[in-house]
């Protein structure tokens, strides 16, 4: 069993205790709500985008556990000032780090095995080999790398990913909220 220190790293607890960009933005900011129906956690993402497709402002509302809240806080800090395209790429990188392969059903007969292998790798001492994220090192992951250990606690992956999925929904709604 992985030790709790793998999950509750100091930087994660710091984001949990001192969440960045906490609050809300008034309309016409884009707003999306994400729910985890299994546990009741909820995340609200507010953001504004300028004419150059750069995320100008972002705010995070809602309630949740240390992992979902710290991931949301880190996400907000990581995407603020980036373009929409960069934010999408970062989201994909993050999900990849969380062993989430979004290949269509049937495209990979061994997908389940790959995920199992990635989780087994995550369970080993070398946390750097997770799901290919380490093969294309990207300094932009910054603090987010601290969430790597979540993969060793599969039940918590959905906590870590909730805010990122909600970010994607907020970005998808930008045309409506301008």
């Amino acid at each position: 069993m992985a030790g709790l220190e793998e999950l509750y790293k100091e930087i994660i607890l710091d984001h949990y205790r001192n969440p960045r960009n906490r609050g809300e933005l008034p309309p016409p900011a884009c707003k999306a709500e994400g729910f985890n129906p299994l546990c009741g956690d909820e995340i609200v993402v507010y953001l504004t985008i300028d004419d150059d497709e750069v995320i100008q402002e972002i705010a995070i509302g809602g309630q949740g556990c240390s992992i979902s809240q710290s991931s949301a806080s880190m996400m907000s800090a990581a995407v603020k000032g980036r373009t929409v395209t960069e934010a999408r790429e970062l989201t994909e990188q993050f999900k990849s780090m969380m062993s989430i392969n979004e290949a269509p059903v049937g495209s990979s007969a061994n997908e389940a095995e790959q995920i199992a292998a990635a989780k087994a790798a995550a369970g080993s001492a070398d946390a750097g080999s997770i799901a290919g994220a380490a093969e294309k090192p990207d300094l932009s992951m910054g603090d987010l790398s601290a969430l790597r250990g979540v993969v060793k606690f599969p039940v918590r992956i959905k906590c870590a990913v909730l805010s990122w999925n909600t970010l994607m929904e907020a970005l998808a709604s930008t045309e409506k909220c301008g």
Binding site: L38, G40, D41, C159
Partner: protein
């Protein structure tokens, strides 16, 4: 006579399991209960020695399988004090049982504007089927409120029941542990001309149950919370109520006659048991009932009241104001369901920390989101007790809870 809990623990193979050299402390029986060897062996015996379908084949093993299912139905009927065995309808679980009742009785007896009365502490299984009826035929739903200590507030009961057609109430809350005054509500419902159904999913496994004394017209419960297998639950209903209800699912077994023009329904209980039933699971449930009868439900309840009192006292002594146990403070007014708030640490994080000590508790909304809203929380961490738990399990919970401080500190 008090129970020998060490001996009872020995009847449950799962409780002998060790993880990382430490024993399992299973405190999630409100979600699902562990299984005694007697249940596992009954299922195994059916598959090995008596496997055949039921209610048809003329050959010997088919007759044996049918006898096993009939015996299980008799055992369940006896266990809940059902006046007649055919009043026990096997379903997939309690959820399906409530859907059966809502769809069959509801569609036959309710129309637009008719009133259904629920409480704020219901499980989604006793909410969503009524929401579905509301969307389909436009019924109204009224809610019996709860007090700050997690009891039903019956101050305006007569007003809420005025004009109601059906009242559907949990006998014991799966979040708060509250034991509700089913008899009183049933009497008031009947005085108002309404039908009364109880969700006894958390009640039947833990207390002596008699449907006549409870005064209900119908009741649902599930097998896996009362030491039986998953995949089997039950609806009990009074004969005249069930006979007046149209069938729910159509297919094999539930018919008397089928022609190209139509069909007629079979007698109870088969009328509501379309298709091949969960034979092995029903047989396992029968074995679970016999196991509980062997212990005696009075003794089971006595043990749980005493262990709940110990748990409330221990948590209060060790954590004082840092801990809140939701629901009634008086052990006799509740079951062994302890929903905990601890120092603002999120329930997910609590359950994660407890898991390091193999202490299994549930974190989340417990399929009771309206109740969570009333309580003003998103989730709770819930430890729930059963007949195989003892004071050492409660101590293990308290010890593991202390270790949450090491990670989350006092300031959160």
């Amino acid at each position: 006579m008090s129970l020998d809990i060490a001996q009872i623990k020995g009847d449950f193979p799962m409780l002998a399991r060790q993880i990382n050299g430490k024993r399992l402390v299973y405190l999630d029986s409100a979600a699902t209960a562990q299984k005694p060897a007697a249940v596992i062996e009954a299922v195994d015996n059916y598959y090995r020695n008596a496997y055949a379908s039921v209610n048809r084949g003329a050959y010997q093993i088919a007759a044996e399988a049918t006898d096993l299912v009939d015996g299980a139905r008799s055992a369940v009927a006896r266990f809940i004090g059902a006046p007649q065995v055919h009043e026990v309808i096997f379903t997939r679980n309690a959820t399906e049982a409530m859907n059966l009742f809502a769809q069959s009785w509801g569609r036959a007896n309710l129309s637009e504007g008719d009133v259904v009365v629920l409480t704020e502490m219901e499980h989604h299984a006793n909410i969503v089927p009524w929401h579905m009826l509301r969307e389909a035929i436009g019924i109204d739903i009224r809610w019996i409120p709860i007090t700050t200590d997690g009891q039903l507030d019956l101050t305006d009961l007569d007003l809420l029941l005025d004009g109601a057609k059906v009242v559907s109430v949990t006998a014991m809350s799966n979040v708060l542990g509250t034991l509700n005054p089913i008899r009183r509500i049933a009497d008031a419902a009947h005085a108002a001309g309404a039908v009364m159904i109880a969700d006894a999913s958390q009640y039947v496994p833990h207390l002596p149950t008699n449907v006549t004394e409870l005064g209900v017209d119908a009741m649902i419960f599930t097998g896996h919370k009362m030491l039986g297998p998953t995949g089997v639950g039950a609806l009990w209903g009074k004969t005249e109520l069930l006979e007046a209800m149209p069938p729910f699912l159509g297919g094999g077994d539930m018919i008397m006659q089928v022609t190209k023009e139509g069909f007629t329904t079979n007698d109870l209980p088969h009328k509501f048991e379309a298709g091949t039933p969960a034979i092995a699971e029903i047989i396992g449930l029968g074995a679970a009932v016999e196991y509980l009868e062997g212990l005696g439900m009075e003794a089971v309840r006595e043990h749980e009241v005493s262990l709940t009192a110990y748990a409330l006292r221990t948590l209060n002594e060790r954590f004082g104001d840092d801990i809140t146990v939701h629901g009634p403070a008086e052990p006799a007014a509740r079951g062994g369901v302890l929903s905990i708030a601890y120092k603002g640490v999120h329930p997910h994080d609590i359950s994660q920390v407890l898991d390091q000590s193999n202490v299994c508790v549930r974190a989340g909304h417990h399929c009771a989101k309206p109740l969570m809203q009333v309580m003003g929380v998103n989730a709770t961490a819930r430890a729930s007790l059963y007949v195989y738990n003892d004071e050492a399990d409660v101590d293990a919970l308290a010890d593991a809870l202390e270790s949450a401080d090491d990670i989350f500190g006092m300031e959160i």
